[in-house]
Amino acid sequence: EAEVAQSPRYKITEKSQAVAFWCDPISGHATLYWYRQILGQGPELLVQFQDESVVDDSQLPKDRFSAERLKGVDSTLKIQPAELGDSAMYLCASSLARRETQYFGPGTRLLVL
C-alpha cells in the first residue's frame, strides 16, 4: 500500500540553527500539506500545495519558515532559525485532489534545545 514518506523521523537541534524536513507524497497525489502538531493538540495546517503552487500558507510563520514543492512532487519544509517553541511533530499529508481524504506520513519529531 502506498504511503507518505518523511525524513528524518527525529531531529534534535539547538535554537538559532537551521532545520529541514522532507516529504514524498503518495504517487499521483496533487495536493500536499504540512501540519504542525504540538503535544496534546490536534494538527494545525502550516501550508498547502496544489501541484507546485502554494494555495494556503496563512498560518506559516514566514519570517522563519519556508516551504517548497518545486516539481510538484516531493516537498521540503525549512525552519531558520529554529526557536524553542518550534518543538513539535511536523506531519506531511497528501491527497489525490483538494477535498479528498488526506493521508498522513509518520511525521518528524523536532526538539529544539
Binding site: 496534546g40 495546517l45 481524504t101
Partner: protein, 110 residues
C-alpha cells in the same frame, strides 16, 4: 473563524462498554473526517462523512454527521483494548483546509 470542539478530551472505559465521543463545530461545513492516532505515530483515516445524516461503520466504531446541529459523533460499541488511541475529528473549512479538534484520548481498561 471555524472552531472544532471535542468532548470528552479524555475517556477511560472498561472493556465491553459503549461510549460516544462528540465533535461540535462552529460554522457550516458539509464534510467531516475522523482520524485515529496511536502514541508517537501518525494519523490514520477512519471515516469521511459527506452529507447530513451520513453514517459510517467499521467494526466497533460508528460515526454520524448532523450538519444542521453541526455535530458529529463517534460511537464505540463493546470497547476492546486495541481501540486505545487518540481520536480526532477534522472539519473541512470552505473546501480549503481541515481544522482539527483537540483530540479525545481513549483508554480501554481490561
Amino acid at each position: 473563524e471555524l472552531k472544532v470542539e471535542q468532548n470528552p478530551l479524555f475517556l477511560s472505559m472498561q472493556e465491553g462498554k459503549n461510549y460516544t465521543i462528540y465533535c461540535n463545530y462552529s460554522t457550516t461545513s458539509d464534510r467531516l473526517y475522523w482520524y485515529r492516532q496511536d502514541p508517537g505515530k501518525s494519523l490514520e483515516s477512519l471515516f469521511v462523512l459527506l452529507s447530513n445524516g451520513a453514517v459510517k461503520q467499521e467494526g466497533r466504531l460508528m460515526a454520524s454527521l448532523d450538519t444542521k446541529a453541526r455535530l458529529s459523533t463517534l460511537h464505540i460499541t463493546a470497547a476492546v483494548h486495541d481501540l486505545s488511541a487518540t481520536y480526532f475529528c477534522a472539519v473541512d473549512k470552505n473546501g480549503n483546509k481541515l481544522v482539527f479538534g483537540a483530540g479525545t484520548i481513549l483508554r480501554v481498561k481490561s
